[in-house]
């Protein structure tokens, strides 16, 4: 009861819950789900980009892309650590991913078909991620908020790099320009869907808001994002594939086309072009690496034994 009262006071005060603080089970569970999904998204999200590392068209771009994909592994690692503070360990979380029980951002189930996708993913996908994540830097759970601060910094860097890729392509040859526009055409709608369904269809939103995890509605965040990319696409001299897109003076809102939520649901529940491939790749890496992890563990045990024996001898002597 004291814990509960303290928890409510912290939330009311818009201050931070820390791992040792009492928290309602529902809060813990909801955060564990959200944070681990976020971690899984970072890990699965490495794959579409890793797909172009060996084929990057210049050494500079290859280096930038490698560093980016590596950063994503790093983000996954922070987020798993942060989630572990809620009492679920990384093996369990990883197992939920490998068995298909945990979700991850559905956008990574689309293929990265051309080099320009490296630009579109950086600009649109990382852009949407940042729009989602910046408010999470103030999330009521301390470790989550702090992880988000670090991640958001790197993500903006990635977004700028993505934009640069598209800018370079848009100023390049006809084929490069076409490649860039095609990538935008393919990633635009899936990126808008990254914010999730409208709030009336999003059952967890209200509770998350009450707990100061979520700060803005899905539609608000989507609005803000659309407003941003509408400006940026002008700099690229390219277009967004949205015939309905316009600013509505009256409501002060960007109106965009209807999104295909049926496709969204289908992709989330395993039916995207690459779901099978993405999970299979993670499972294979996990299975192929089993003997390596076992060897490392066995070696660590041997070392510990040797150290213990050495310490015992030292004590005796």
């Amino acid at each position: 009861i004291a814990g509960q009262r303290r928890f409510e006071a912290i939330i009311a005060d818009d201050s931070r819950i820390e791992p040792r603080d009492w928290m309602p089970e529902a809060y813990r569970k909801s955060l564990t789900r959200q944070m681990s999904q976020h971690a899984h998204s970072e890990i699965i999200g490495m794959q579409p980009e890793a797909n172009w590392i060996t084929r990057a068209p210049s050494l500079k771009r290859k280096a930038i892309l490698m560093a980016k994909v590596q950063d994503e592994a790093g983000h996954g690692l922070y987020l798993y650590s942060a989630t572990e503070t809620l009492g679920t360990d990384r093996d369990t979380l990883n197992n939920q991913l490998l068995t298909g029980r945990a979700k991850y951002s559905s956008i990574f189930n689309y293929p990265a078909r051309t080099w320009a996708d490296m630009g579109a993913i950086g600009w649109l996908v990382d852009g949407a991620a940042i729009a989602n994540q910046v408010p999470l830097c103030r999330a009521s759970y301390g470790p989550y908020g702090r992880a988000m601060v670090r991640i958001c910094k790197e993500e903006s860097f990635h977004q700028r790099q993505g934009f640069e890729i598209l800018l370079e392509l848009s100023r390049g040859t006809e084929a490069q320009r076409k490649m860039a526009q095609d990538a935008i055409n393919r990633f635009y709608a899936p990126a808008l869907m990254m914010f999730g369904p409208s709030d009336q269809d999003s059952p967890n939103s209200q509770q998350s808001m009450a707990w100061n995890i979520k700060r803005f509605s899905n539609d608000d965040l989507r609005q803000r994002f659309v407003g941003m990319i509408v400006e940026q696409v002008k700099v690229l001299g390219l277009s967004l594939p949205d015939p309905d897109l316009r600013y509505d003076e009256e409501s002060g809102q960007w109106l965009h086309m209807d999104l295909d939520w049926d496709e969204f649901k289908r992709v989330v529940s395993g039916g995207g072009p690459c779901n099978s491939q993405r999970l299979a790749r993670r499972r294979e890496a996990h299975e192929d690496g089993a003997w390596v992890r076992e060897a490392a563990a066995a070696f660590a045990r041997k070392q510990q034994n040797e150290k213990n024996q050495h310490d015992q001898k030292a004590e005796v002597a």
């Binding site: 068209p57 050494l59 290859k62 590596q70 790093g74 798993y80 890729i165 070696f299």
Partner: protein, 245 residues
Amino acid sequence: DDAVARYALHLGDDALILAQRLSHWISRGPELEEDVALGNIALDQLGHARSFLSYAGKAWGQTEDDLAYFREEEDFTSLHLVEQPNGDFAETMVRGLFMALYQHQLYTRLVHSADETIAAISAKALKEVDYHLEHAELWTLRLGRGTEESAHRMRRALDKLWPYTAELFQDEPLHDELEGVAVRPSTLRAEWDEQLLDILDRSELAVPEVPAALCWGRRGEHSEHLGYILAEMQVLARKHPGATW
């Protein structure tokens, strides 16, 4: 200077092909920490490659990308060892150990090269290769002394890759032209053998008894693997000649 440029090309090509091979591990490692670690090593090697290739290219009015993307297989000078497939994690570690020991000794000496640029690139690279060697050594210990399976895989990897180590120490006529600038590869052998033996010893592994392979990567005569590596690496750049990215 053409000879110095050709020497820089040797160093750059080894690093480039090794980076290309290693980068394939990113998103496929045995644990996420290794995705990061192998990614780091790949990124470092790519960095060294870019420095050496840019320097080589200056002599010929070419960019690093001209050299990486628009040379043919026979113009590459990489060692057969770096061209070998990743195989399992043990093979990647054995290849990594062989190369890290080699590059560590090479850059340690090249820090004193009479060519200032080569000395400077080597000094920077050396700090990073320090870490590569540490990484390879730690995994050699872990896998050599870990489980029966890991030791078996390490022995198999050593047998498979050992033949390609002889090429690391072959002197070429080019080295005669570069007294004080280049290191004669043959002069690195004794110390390399000694350090390797020490690491393998501590890992309960042994130098395999398999003969050296006849390889002449420096002369453009490559393993059957390089063609595939280049086909993949160069495919996009070559579809858009003259484009910038």
